[in-house]
């Protein structure tokens, strides 16, 4: 049986963050899910089924790529973990395949999800198609406009996409709506949450499902470079791609971990402790406890909270969290495209933006270091938005 490393307390706390703050109605569903996950995660057969799907459906393992031109120009040794090469275009599929298997195992015939950039929605719709599950995806109206292509992809895959018109009409509100659906349809519905947030067991479960990124990277770095990276960098929205790649390095103190948030959604540097969407975490909020709207060019990072384990890692200083502006992200997006021939999603472009920013600064921490960047997704979904943006700049 495989023990879960760095597991939260039985109540789901990572130090003082996490827990289970949800309406009473949902408690038994969370307990059922926790049990199903723990049992399955320790079950050789379940793991073999999942591994098979990851290999032969999603296309894992994803390679690591040396970013040669950028390395030379920036002055570090930059390695990219290519989650963009996954089926459906991002790391989200790792989590979704696991949760879809669990849904089937729990006898749920309906699966719901929230989505920001649409990547998690597309991944969920894909898994639902594979497993023959009914699928409903909640998406903020603002996000539906900036990620039109993904909306159509989900619909092609047979999912129903429901526009969310409340609040900021983005990811936060889509999660609210998904939770309301779950409260109502909990008997036959599994809520396939897309990141390491929400009530226990989601932060732990989604981390475990994403830890494949870190496991592969560690082995690949050893095999190809004979060493581990000095620094691991990932963007942080809810924090699933970041925790996925961090998790295998948490117990190796020599490896520095850096999470990059958008300046307009920097809950870890600008937030305070509070409860949103089921867990105690760092939150952008006003003096009364009303949750503020995040503002970012990237729909996938437009979130005022963050996964509770990141809040704990920030507090213990095991990981360092920084932020970058939309302008810095756009430059990084173009840089990676032009220098490496990879169109990244806007989310991981945040990671590169911080690496560039650091290396341009006087006291660079990244100079001549081996830096592993989690390239969490590809940029096809963002091409439209970038086209509009860059056209505007030219006029």
């Amino acid at each position: 049986m495989s023990e879960i490393k760095n597991a939260p307390t039985i109540d789901g706390f990572f130090d003082e963050f996490g827990g289970r703050f949800i309406p009473e109605t949902l408690v038994p569903a969370c307990e059922e899910l926790e049990e199903a996950f723990k049992e399955s995660w320790a079950d050789v057969e379940f793991r073999a089924t999942l591994d098979n799907l990851l290999a032969n459906f999603a296309g894992r393992p994803t390679p690591i790529t040396q970013a040669k031109t950028l390395s030379t120009e920036l002055g570090c040794e930059l390695i990219l973990k290519r989650e963009d090469l996954n089926h459906t275009g991002s790391h989200k599929i790792n989590n979704v395949l696991g949760q879809a298997l669990l849904a089937v195992k729990m006898g749920k015939n309906r699966i719901i999800a929230e989505t920001g950039a649409g990547q998690h929605g597309v991944a969920t719709a894909t898994a639902a198609a594979v497993f023959g599950l009914e699928c409903v995806v909640y998406m903020g109206e603002v996000d539906m406009m900036r990620q039109e292509l993904n909306v159509f992809r989900m619909e092609l895959l047979g999912a129903e996409v429901i526009p969310v018109k409340t609040g900021s009409k983005t990811l936060k509100d889509a999660i609210n709506e998904a939770l309301r659906d779950w409260v109502t349809n909990v008997k036959n519905t599994h809520y396939c949450l897309g990141s390491v947030m929400g009530p226990h067991p989601y932060p732990m479960m989604v981390r475990e499902l994403q830890s494949i990124i870190g496991k592969e990277s560690k082995i690949q770095c050893q095999e190809q470079f004979g060493r581990l990276p000095d620094i691991v960098v990932a963007c942080v929205g809810g924090g699933s791609n970041a925790i996925g790649i961090f998790s295998e390095f948490l117990d190796i103190p020599d490896v520095e971990l850096v999470g990059v948030e958008p300046a307009g959604g920097a809950s870890l540097t600008k937030g305070d402790p509070g409860v949103l969407h089921g867990s105690m975490t760092q939150l952008l909020q006003d003096e009364w406890g009303q949750v503020l709207e995040a503002k970012s060019i990237s729909a996938g990072l437009d979130y005022p909270g963050v996964g509770p384990e990141h809040a704990a890692l920030a507090a213990s200083k095991r990981a360092r969290y920084v932020n970058v502006t939309d302008e810095e992200v756009i430059s990084a997006f173009q840089l990676m495209t032009q220098k490496e021939g990879i169109i990244p999603a806007l989310e991981p472009a945040h990671g590169l933006a911080y690496i560039v920013k650091d290396l341009e600064a006087k006291n660079s921490a990244f100079k001549n270091k081996m830096v592993l960047l989690n390239l969490s997704g590809r940029g096809d979904k963002d091409v439209d938005q970038m086209m509009e943006h860059l056209k505007c700049l030219k006029i």
């Binding site: 949800i22 409260v183 089921g278």
Partner: protein, 256 residues
Amino acid sequence: MLKNLEVELKQKCQNGQKLLVPFITGGIQGWEETLQAFEDVGADAVEVGIPFSDAVMDGPIICEANDIALSAGTTPDNIFKKVAELKLKVPVIAMTYYNIAYRRGLANFSADLKTYSFSGGILADMPFEASSNWLEAGRQAEIATILLAAPTASDDRLERIATSSTGFVYAVGLLGVTGEQETLATSATEIAKRLKQVTDTPVLVGVGISTPEQAAKAVEVADGVIVGSVLVKKLLANKSPKKTAKLLAEFKKALN
């Protein structure tokens, strides 16, 4: 001195009376006058919603009220002060979400409720396991800490919730969020029945009580009902505290 909420409600139950508790969102136009008017038509207690930006237990009507109240700049402090000024004779209960109380500090929040003449508080997104600090804060401040009990709970769980809840037990009448329902869910009377078997604390059914007929049906088993969305909808639509209270009067008539 304010009477203890639970003692007051129990007395009424013992007199064979069925309890009627209306809800209104604090900060929407006319909410204060509406509370007064509710008292005038015979509400046994009133619930005031302190709006939260991410109200996951609430459906479209109360969410709209929250949005309106928040964009008008409503804060917990505004609501506290106005409630204290109203000097209602019936007990007032605050209904909100965990983060609003947590932001102030659970102990401060409870103490402030007491100071501003509330008799109790409800946190809609706090399950039983997360309730111990809140229950303790309520004990210290001498306010009732009303817990929600949902149809999905095991008998065991219902009993633990009922034992810890003070004031009354809030029986969630259906699988779902607040809002209008065409019929009374069978789960409403079922959960009331299950709770009545394990507790002497008054059991009130809320969520999904939309008509006087539904209320009458629910109190065949329950000790009372909480009525929210239809009243909020009425006040939002016609801005008239009087007409809103008139609707409540129809519920009152149906109950007794």
